[in-house]
């Protein structure tokens, strides 16, 4: 009986710690910004990339259309204005999702829209879309928007005007469950990405980074300095490999988490700068924020509050 009670306690500790939606709302804002940047930027090429008269007409998608598992609202569009209307609604929903306005509705439009775009043109869908779909799905299950949102600000203002107590954001152990699942998603991404690389000759020889940076697609900066100090390429290649393989094991411990997260931030900033994969890096960093401890966010919030207060005092 005691063993069962201990196991139950460990299980609860693992999955069900009571918290507000604040961590998920941080992810919501980040995911919303990534989706907005991605899809708003594709607006001029909307019909070329997603329309029936573009690169991938509907008949090219027979495999997807035949299976109910690959849903896309785009399969039902017939006129150009259908695409434009959907795109407009979707971008507005992304904006509302990011700002935290009417999130209860907007979040489902964002999720369905994002998945629909992904299946409408599989040729241009890649890892960043799956990461964002995963994060969006998990935050959608929670009553997000209860913190760090326009809805929250409006409800606080209304309460102050009415002279009633400011509502406290609800806490629930299930919010943590979703955050934990997002953490597991990131750990799985890092681990399998590292394991897949172990099969590559260039990763073993320490040349992978050089090969990738020579690729026109990722040649974002001049790399003469790397060619002149080639040992740096080896260090960065092996460092990437070790970080990806080690992340899933080291990120859970209290002592190692800050260092692992700092290394991951450095890696993703490096990927963004050196390879020009800004959206991918941003999406990964947003999802990595699920590992931020509550006390770190509290401290950051207190620091911002102090800074804002001192600035306000100075100005008045």
């Amino acid at each position: 009986m005691r063993a069962l009670s201990a196991a139950s306690s460990i299980w609860a500790q693992l999955w069900f710690q009571s918290e507000t939606t604040r961590s998920l709302d941080i992810v919501r804002i980040g995911v919303g910004l990534c989706l907005l940047a991605s899809y708003a930027g594709l607006t001029p090429q909307l019909l070329e990339l997603y329309g029936d008269g573009g690169w991938v007409p509907r008949e090219a998608l027979s495999m997807y259309l035949e299976r109910w598992e690959y849903p896309s609202l785009h399969y039902h569009f017939t006129e150009d204005w259908h695409w434009w209307a959907f795109h407009g609604v979707f971008l507005l929903a992304c904006l509302a999702f990011t700002a935290g306005w009417q999130v209860r509705w907007a979040k489902w439009v964002v999720l369905v829209g994002h998945i629909s775009y992904g299946y409408r043109n599989p040729m241009i869908t890649y890892g960043v879309d799956t990461i964002l779909a995963s994060a969006t799905f998990l935050v959608c299950l929670a009553p997000i928007g209860a913190t760090l949102s326009l809805d929250r600000w409006l409800s606080m203002r209304a309460a102050r005007r009415a002279g009633t107590p400011v509502p406290v954001p609800p806490s629930s152990p299930f919010h943590f469950t979703l955050r934990r699942l997002l953490q597991i998603q990131i750990a799985v991404v890092m681990l399998f990405s590292g394991l897949a690389k172990l099969r590559g000759d260039w990763w073993w020889s320490g040349d992978a980074l050089w090969i990738a940076l020579n690729n026109y697609e990722f040649a974002n900066v001049p790399i003469g300095w790397l060619a002149a100090h080639y040992e740096l390429v080896n260090v960065l290649t092996y460092g990437t490999l070790m970080l990806e393989l080690g992340f899933a094991f080291l990120v859970w411990q209290r002592a190692t988490r800050p260092f692992v997260l700092a290394a991951v931030v450095a890696m993703h900033v490096g990927i963004a700068v050196l390879m020009g994969l800004y959206l991918f890096s941003a999406a990964m960093l947003v999802c990595d924020s699920a590992f931020l401890r509550r006390e770190w966010i509290d401290r950051l919030r207190a620091w911002i509050g102090r800074k804002a207060a001192s600035r306000w005092r100075r100005e008045t």
Binding site: A12, W15, F16, A40, G41, L42, E48, G53, W55, V56, A60, S62, R67, E69, Y70, P71, H114, I115, G118, Y119, M123, I124, Y126, G127, T130, A133, S134, L141, A142, S172, P173, F174, T177, R180, L181, I184, V188, V189, F192, S193, A196, K197, R199, G200, W202, W203, I211, A212, N214, N215, Y216, E217, A219, G224, L226, A228, G276, L277, L279, F280
Partner: protein
């Protein structure tokens, strides 16, 4: 969804935590099964999770730059007009690196190079329509495959897109629709 579970927790906490646990285990297993290498156990379990993974767009292998990054490819296409004249268009060169869609277009060219069908024919016909003013009769994708460049060659002034590092791969031409 969690709101309903939270309401249930107020009345039947054990049941609510049980449902929450079942979902957590299911979703975590799905995340692990999606990229798992092929094995007997994966073959047995994957079909159970596949509809869920596909529905939510979670079915990914996460092999970023794996097993090896490729040195790159440059895509061109050659339009042959009604008089038999050839017009070569540098697709990759026309892309703007700063544009949001840059990575998506390069993804598309990689797709057309590595795994051309079933999209290549449709993509070719789209390009025929896009260049209708040339009255194209057929179109052929041409891929310039980049050979790995040594750091020594780079220091000497060579670059990956120099002609001596490129291997030309011509794909079968696709007739434009009348």
């Amino acid at each position: 969804m969690l709101v309903a579970l939270e309401r249930l927790r107020a009345r039947r906490p054990a049941l609510a935590l049980g449902i929450g646990s079942l979902f957590a285990v299911w979703h975590a297993c799905a995340l692990l099964i999606a990229p798992a290498p092929e094995s007997r156990i994966q073959a047995a379990v994957y079909p159970v999770f596949r509809p869920y993974l596909a529905l939510l767009h979670l079915d990914a292998g996460w092999g970023f730059f794996a097993p090896d990054p490729h040195p790159g490819v440059r895509m061109l296409y050659v339009l042959t007009d009604q008089e038999g004249r050839e017009h070569e268009v540098d697709f990759t060169g026309s892309l703007e690196r700063s544009a949001t869609g840059f990575q998506r277009y390069t993804m598309m060219q990689d797709y057309l190079w590595i795994d051309a069908q079933p999209y290549a024919t449709h993509a070719a016909r789209y390009l025929c329509r896009r260049h209708a003013e040339l009255r194209p009769r057929q179109i052929a994708f041409r891929f310039l495959r980049v050979q790995p460049l040594t750091p020594e060659a780079y220091v000497e002034g060579h670059r990956p897109l120099d002609p001596e590092f490129l291997v030309v791969e011509d794909h079968e031409p696709v007739p434009c629709e009348p």
